[in-house]
């Protein structure tokens, strides 16, 4: 029952909030891994958008592209995993060399 009262705008609002939370985390956190977590939230906000649009705005019949959004979301999930794998490897290497993962303290390169 409740689900039927939910409209597209509710999902868009949810995803916008999630995106903002993620962006806020990226900006305010200093630890590289926490920044990575913020990025994951932003990616999942995009996924909510994709699935919601897929559900509510199915393209006109005959175009036969009804699964675009679902596939897009699946690919974004896969991408997020790849990005986390590469990112964690880079962070691990930085920790090995510089003994810190805090973005502020990694500052050999400047203006």
């Amino acid at each position: 029952m409740v689900l039927q009262q939910l409209g597209l705008q509710h999902f868009l609002a949810l995803s916008a909030i999630l995106f903002s939370v993620g962006l806020f985390g990226v900006i305010s956190r200093r630890n590289s891994i926490a920044i990575l977590l913020g990025v994951e939230l932003m990616l999942n906000a995009a996924n909510i958008n994709l699935i919601a649009f897929q559900r509510y705005l199915a393209p006109p019949a005959g175009l036969n592209l009804v699964l675009d959004g679902q596939i897009f979301a699946l690919i974004v999930i896969t991408l997020a995993a790849c990005e986390a794998a590469v990112g964690l490897a880079i962070i691990l290497n930085v920790y090995r060399v510089l003994r810190t993962t805090t973005a502020d303290e990694v500052s050999l390169l400047k203006w």
Binding site: I35, M42, N47, F72, I75, V86, I90, L109
Partner: protein, 526 residues
Amino acid sequence: MTLNLQPTAGLDQFAPEILLGVLGLIVLGIGALTKRRWPLAAPVVTLAGLFACLPLVAMQWRHEQSVIFLGSYVVDDLAVFFKLVAVAAGGLVTLIAMSYMRRVDRDYGEFFALLVWAVLGLCLMAGAADLIVILLAIETVSLLSYVMTGYLRNEPRSAEASLKYFLYGAVASAVMIYGMSLLYGVAGTTKLYGLLGSEALPMQLRLHPSPLQPIAAVLILVGLGFKIAMVPFHWWAPDAYEGAPTPVTAFLSVGPKAAGFAILARLFMQEGNALYPQWPTLVAVLAIATMFLGNWAAIWQGNIKRMLAYSSIAHAGYMLIGVVAWQGGAWTVSDRGGIASHGGLHAVLFYIASYLFMNLGAFAVAIAIERATGCESIERYGGMAKRNPFLAIAMTIFLLSLSGIPPLAGFFGKFYVFNAAIRGAADDAISLSLPFGIHVNVLFWLAVAGVVNSMIAVYYYMNVVRLMYFQPATGLDAEEAEHAIVPSVGVQSVIIITLVATFLLGLLPEALVRFLAESVFPGGLS
């Protein structure tokens, strides 16, 4: 445009990409098997493969657009141009990297596999016609760039550069993906070209006017702006360029930047694209900021790689002038063989071709000098004219070309871009009305900013020339100062190739202009 609903139809037109994918695997295997016994095996196979790829790509230059794989991938002249740039950049960087990587890392075969796959990613960016493919291609290039930037694992600066590049890049691509999800909602499809229409139909956007369109457009611009190092998304560039191994820096300054413009052209430079009609004004403002910031910051740099990084930001600004002025129409060949040239898109393409050679040439000289002096400081260029006259004259020519002095390639790159802007300004193509009745002819001021910036840039480019010719070598003992600098064979051949190309594009620009004018680009450019 031809269309086939068989999922595998068009596989033959995908041959260059398949070759690159397989080549990466082969190089990876060779690198692992030969290790130190035949250190040249991996780069030589890479070079041979990339060389074999060139004719395969060139054969696709057929003045027609064919959309393959159910509308998700497009093969047309625009894609061919950017693929040629990507493969050429990959080949030249392989030549540069051969001896450099061997010095810093004994088991370096895998580096060339990463490079080949990055070139593959750039080719996919050039041909992507579906938001999903665009995203995958951009991420392929990005992830490989992060890894290549941090390739010197034990070097703190390299590790730090890869971390910063990764964090900025991850955020930028997350923002872009969010924008793409909104764009999908607005358009109802991820395909850039409609599947049903007989002609290229840029995303059925006209059907769904929605307040989400400008938001989606701006968010996607963030992701692309990151790739091409557009202000204010350029912060990663100086750090990543300085910390990365220098051949990787050379690659990053050309490859991803060019491919970013390919996607910009496909998504935004389309006739009747109602995605966000005001985007040229927004990009114009950012282009002016990009040029001024890049050139201003470059003046103060003491590190050659960092200086070239800021200079590459400034060059992205010049290219953006052409992007803003794209509505000037296509370059055409008239009946009498004359060429009418005032289109922004073609000007950008010419600029990218000239930038490819002059910038890679400058990086090749920088690598030769870095290897000899063991240091990236600009001060160490003192006395270079005596220590190696050839390197000094080559660097002078590349820097003159970068600052846009005729008769070198960079001059015509800037000339066509500014020309496109001035032509557009004459029609007052993009105007901005401010309060108090102030009317701004955007393209005119854009051209003025470009010319002013070209003059600022001469200062820091010529500073290097001044050091090479009029300053004695510093920080060396007498014996070392006399010691000649001998670049490796790979670096030498890159310098010669890029020198020839810089001169050819400057002395005979008609050849490339004719090639571009005869090409057919999508999106109703007429």
